[in-house]
Structure formats: structure tokens, C-alpha cells
């Protein structure tokens, strides 16, 4: 993958309408050992701690992680709002700054709140005008489901409508890559569903979409691929199924009944043990073998087997224990 060289124009020319005249090369997104540290003199936090990530064009990828996992910083680096302390970030074969300037990127930021005294149509018209080949304004409004509210002032809209305006802002320029930072935070169920419908119809046009979320179902339902981040690193990367397997597929739990939990981690299939309120929770990638062995040693009181949900996998991957003692904070 030759993501860093910028002189492969001949290849791009034949791929048709979207890249014609733009001359983009390389994957949509490419992070190489990117590190970003915040704070100064003494107390620093490594918000992004060595991320390697390649996203091909046309993929829809979810960046999944808890609050503070480093999602927003990763997106900040991606958009060129921040520069990495070390490592590189490339979008479509160029630096984030150049990709943004060339109109290849559209984004919906987490912090964005509506600016006062502007109508929806005025805002979208302006944003579209800054891009070289924007969507027609009416089309952008329709994709975001905002046609009915086009002439309303954006500071007079509801939370869900505001979120859609920000989505319309992100797609107004018809960018190759669209980046959505926690796009459905603070939306109710119905607004959330409507939003993802809009997002999928945008992705179907062949665009690359990267969104961050801490909702597992959203990632599972709306992305081709899930990248789990925690403590500034990539913890898992793949489809929902891959990630379920990676974290140990199922959960077997028993009442300990005063029996020590020592040695349970050695049972067949078990990849992790958690003790909570007198119950041992065994994460296992072979629940049958685990249950048979538990029966053999007579530890079956209150036994339960739960099919591995993605949520279990997520919790397993991002729990603090999974990181050992590494807390990513150094005090000098």
C-alpha cells in the first residue's frame, strides 16, 4: 500500500467520476504510529498512543470506545485540527490539511452547536459554496431529512433537527470521506433510526464513512467494520463477529458459594475471570468445554451460560483490567 506517495495520478484517472480531476491516491484514511499527548509540564495524557489504521475507500467504519478512549482526538488528528506529536496521518494520499482544503472531507463534530441568526438553507448554501463540486443544496437537505425545515433558523430547532443540520453540513460538499463524531449522542430512538437511514443512503453512493460511537448496536448495525479503541490504542479491529470472538465469545457464570476463585482461569476455554458479588463470571471461547469441566469439579451452583453479546466483548476489551497496570498517565 503506497499511501504516502502522491504521484499516482495515472491510476486514479481511470476510476471514473469521483476522482476525475482530483487526482487522489492511496486509501481513504491511513494512520501510521500516530501519537498525540495533551497537557504540559509534568502532567501529560497520551490521548492517542500509537494508532495504526487503514481505511479503504467505500468502507463504513465505526470507531467504538468509551468516553475518553481517544475517539475525538483521533478524529481531531484525522481532520488536521491537531497535529500528531509523532507518526503520520494521511487522507486520500495527502496531509489532512491539504485534503480538507481540496474539499475531499466533510465532518460533523461532536461539539458543534447551532450558530444563531441563520436559516438552515443559508448555512448549507454557504458550506456547499466552499467545496469545488458540492451536492445541490436541495439534495443535501433531502438526504439529511431537513427539506421541511429549510427556512427555519437553526437556533430555533430541536436537538434532533440540529443534529440533522450538522449532518447536512458534513455532506453538503459531496466529500469523498465523511467523518461523524458521536453523531447520535443525545438523540431519542426515533431520531436515531432516522439519522442512520440518512447515513446509509449517503454511504451507498460509494462514499467512505467513519463514525465514532459508544453504542455497540449502532456500530454493529451501521458499519462494515468496527475498530475498538481504548486508552488511545486500537484494541480490536474487524466485523462484529470477529470482535465477539476476539474477546472470548460466551459468558459462563456460577455461584462461588465460599469456594475460592483461584484456578478458574485455568479451565478449558476460559480467557478471563471476574468475581462480582459472590459470582464468578468466566469469559470463554469454548463454553461447552468450560461447563463440562465445571461439572467435573462440582462447581455448578446457579450456573448460567450467556451467548456472547457484542457488549460483553466490548466490556471485556475495554475494561481497565484488560490493560494491566498501564494507565497512560505519567507524572514527572
Amino acid at each position: 500500500m503506497t499511501q504516502t506517495t502522491g504521484n499516482q495520478r495515472t491510476g486514479a484517472r481511470s476510476t471514473g467520476v469521483r476522482t476525475e480531476g482530483i487526482g487522489t491516491t492511496g486509501p481513504a484514511v491511513c494512520f501510521t504510529a500516530a501519537v498525540k499527548t495533551f497537557g504540559r509540564a509534568g502532567r501529560t495524557v497520551r490521548a492517542v498512543d500509537g494508532i495504526d489504521l487503514t481505511i479503504e475507500r467505500g468502507e463504513t467504519v465505526a470507531l467504538l470506545g468509551r468516553n475518553g478512549a481517544g475517539k475525538s482526538t483521533t478524529i481531531g488528528l484525522l481532520l488536521g485540527l491537531d497535529t500528531p506529536d509523532s507518526g503520520t496521518v494521511r487522507l486520500l494520499g495527502r496531509t489532512p490539511d491539504r485534503a480538507v482544503r481540496a474539499g475531499l472531507v466533510g465532518a460533523m463534530l461532536q461539539e458543534g452547536r447551532p450558530i444563531p441568526r441563520v436559516t438552515v438553507r443559508e448555512l448549507i448554501t454557504f458550506v456547499a459554496s466552499t467545496y469545488p463540486r458540492p451536492l445541490p443544496v436541495d439534495e443535501a437537505l433531502a438526504l439529511a431529512g431537513m427539506t421541511a425545515f429549510a427556512d427555519r433558523r437553526i437556533d430555533k430547532l430541536s436537538g434532533g433537527q440540529t443534529q440533522r443540520v450538522r449532518f447536512a453540513v458534513a455532506l453538503a460538499g459531496a466529500p469523498e470521506l465523511i467523518v461523524l463524531d458521536e453523531p447520535t449522542a443525545a438523540l431519542d430512538v426515533e431520531a436515531r433510526r432516522a439519522f442512520w437511514d440518512s447515513m446509509r443512503s449517503f454511504a451507498r453512493r460509494g462514499n467512505t464513512v467513519l463514525f465514532s460511537t459508544h453504542h455497540l448496536e449502532e456500530a454493529d448495525e451501521n458499519a462494515d467494520r468496527i475498530v475498538v479503541v481504548g486508552r488511545g490504542r486500537i484494541l480490536a479491529d474487524g466485523t462484529g463477529d470477529t470482535i465477539r470472538r476476539a474477546a472470548g465469545g460466551s459468558l459462563v457464570s456460577i455461584d462461588l458459594a465460599d469456594r475460592p476463585a483461584d484456578g478458574l482461569e485455568l479451565l478449558p476455554g476460559v480467557v478471563g475471570v471476574d468475581v462480582r458479588g459472590g459470582r464468578a463470571l468466566l469469559r470463554t471461547d469454548d463454553p461447552d468445554a468450560t461447563v463440562v469441566e465445571l461439572a467435573r469439579i462440582g462447581a455448578v451452583r446457579g450456573i448460567r451460560v450467556d451467548g456472547g453479546t457484542l457488549e460483553d466483548a466490548f466490556l471485556a476489551l475495554t475494561s481497565p483490567e484488560a490493560a494491566g497496570t498501564d494507565t497512560k498517565e505519567s507524572v514527572r
Binding site: D82, V100, I115, R117, L123, F126, T130, G173
Partner: protein
């Protein structure tokens, strides 16, 4: 950039309170100073104080734009703007030009008050030249004001911009004639932006060309504050 200018002008024109008070205050001050103080009935004083107050009003409304920018930043609008293809230099230039729409009515209102209320009489070319010079001359201050707005919180921007305005007005001789200053301060004062700005206005009233240095000094400050504003704009999008 035109689209950006239009967008920001629309937003400004819809902020009636900002417009009414921004324009009204200097007019009120001018009428009070010239009619209550008993400072004199001379036409000369009325013309000079008119120019002085129009200049001060122009500076005040130029720098007041910064506060709006700081609140735009707190809404995340500057970050959103930063990830459109609009280049930082154009974004700042566009904002400065759109900010000028609030400067113009301030100048016009004070001059109108001078002409109608206080009976100031000047040749037609003087009125036109005065409006244009004060309007264009306010640009460096607009850039300083928005540069501060890009860096600071809305509250801090308000305070810092008022402090800058006062400081520049005093050192530049807008309040007390620079000729009364000690020599060292006077030499500094002559190179400050407010001095060059006021000199433009005074030269029109006195019907002579402005001192050769004044436009050059003002152009220098325009570049300096412009650079400061672009630098601040680029920084403003950082996430931490």
C-alpha cells in the same frame, strides 16, 4: 469568500440590539459632549469632535466584533469552518470585511448627527472622503479585535478588547492631543495605529493631505494585526 461574507453580514444585520447600541452610543456621546459641556460653540470644535467621535465609534464597533467571534468559537462554529475548504486567510479576511458593515452605520450616524444636529458644514468631497477613510482605516482594529476573539473566551475578549481600545486611543492621541505628551511618548504615539487613523480624519477636516507617514503606519498595522488574526484563527480549531 463572498458567500462567507454574505452569511456573516446576514447574521450581523439580524442582531438588532448589537446594531442599535453599537451605532447609538457614539452618537449619544457626541451630542452630549458637544452640547452639554459648554466647551464652545465654535464650528471648528464641533467638526473636530465629530471626527474624533466618529473615529472612536468606528474603533469601538470594529473591536466589538471580536466578542461575537469568541462566542462562535464556543459553539464550535470555528472548528466547523476550519474543516471546510475555506482557507484561513480568506476566512479571516471575509470576517473582517463582513464586520465592517457594523462600522459603517456608526460612522454615518455620528456624521449625520454632526451635520443635522450640530450644523457642521463641509464640502461634499470632505464628507465622502471622511466616510471612506474612517471606514477603511478601521480595518486594522477589526483584525485586532477578531484576532483576540479567535484566542479568548467571550468574556475575556470583551475585557481585552476594551483595554486595547482605551490603550490605543490614549496613546494615539484620540482623547488628549499627542502634542501634550512628553517627547518619548509622543514619538511612540505617532507610530500607533489610532494616531494614524485619527490623522486620516483630521487631515480631511483641515483640507490637507494626511502626513505622509500615517497611511504607511496604518498599512503596517493592518498587515501585523492581519497576521495575528490568521495565526489565532488557525490555533482556534485545536481541540485542546
Amino acid at each position: 469568500m463572498t458567500a462567507y461574507i454574505l452569511l456573516e453580514i446576514r447574521r450581523t444585520l439580524r442582531d438588532t440590539t448589537f446594531l442599535v447600541f453599537g451605532t447609538g452610543m457614539p452618537v449619544l456621546m457626541y451630542l452630549l459632549f458637544t452640547n452639554l459641556g459648554g466647551g464652545g460653540d465654535h464650528d471648528e470644535w464641533k467638526a473636530y469632535s465629530m471626527v474624533g467621535m466618529a473615529a472612536y465609534g468606528a474603533l469601538a464597533s470594529a473591536m466589538a466584533i471580536g466578542t461575537g467571534i469568541a462566542s462562535d468559537k464556543s459553539l464550535g462554529w470555528l472548528q466547523q469552518l476550519r474543516i471546510t475548504p475555506l482557507a484561513p486567510g480568506r476566512a479571516v479576511t471575509g470576517r473582517a470585511i463582513s464586520g465592517s458593515v457594523t462600522v459603517l452605520p456608526t460612522i454615518l450616524a455620528v456624521l449625520l448627527a454632526g451635520a443635522l444636529g450640530n450644523g457642521v458644514r463641509m464640502a461634499a468631497w470632505q464628507w465622502i472622503a471622511l466616510v471612506l477613510l474612517l471606514w477603511a482605516g478601521a480595518l486594522p482594529f477589526t483584525l485586532l479585535g477578531i484576532g483576540n476573539g479567535y484566542r479568548l473566551t467571550p468574556q475575556a475578549t470583551g475585557v481585552v478588547n476594551v483595554a486595547c481600545l482605551m490603550g490605543l486611543a490614549i496613546v494615539g492621541g484620540l482623547w488628549f492631543p499627542i502634542t501634550e505628551f512628553p517627547q518619548w511618548l509622543r514619538s511612540i504615539g505617532e507610530f500607533t495605529p489610532a494616531y494614524g487613523f485619527a490623522e486620516l480624519g483630521r487631515s480631511v477636516v483641515a483640507e490637507h493631505a494626511p502626513a505622509a507617514g500615517a497611511p504607511a503606519v496604518l498599512a503596517g498595522w493592518l498587515l501585523l494585526f492581519g497576521g495575528y488574526a490568521v495565526f489565532s484563527y488557525r490555533r482556534s480549531a485545536r481541540t485542546a
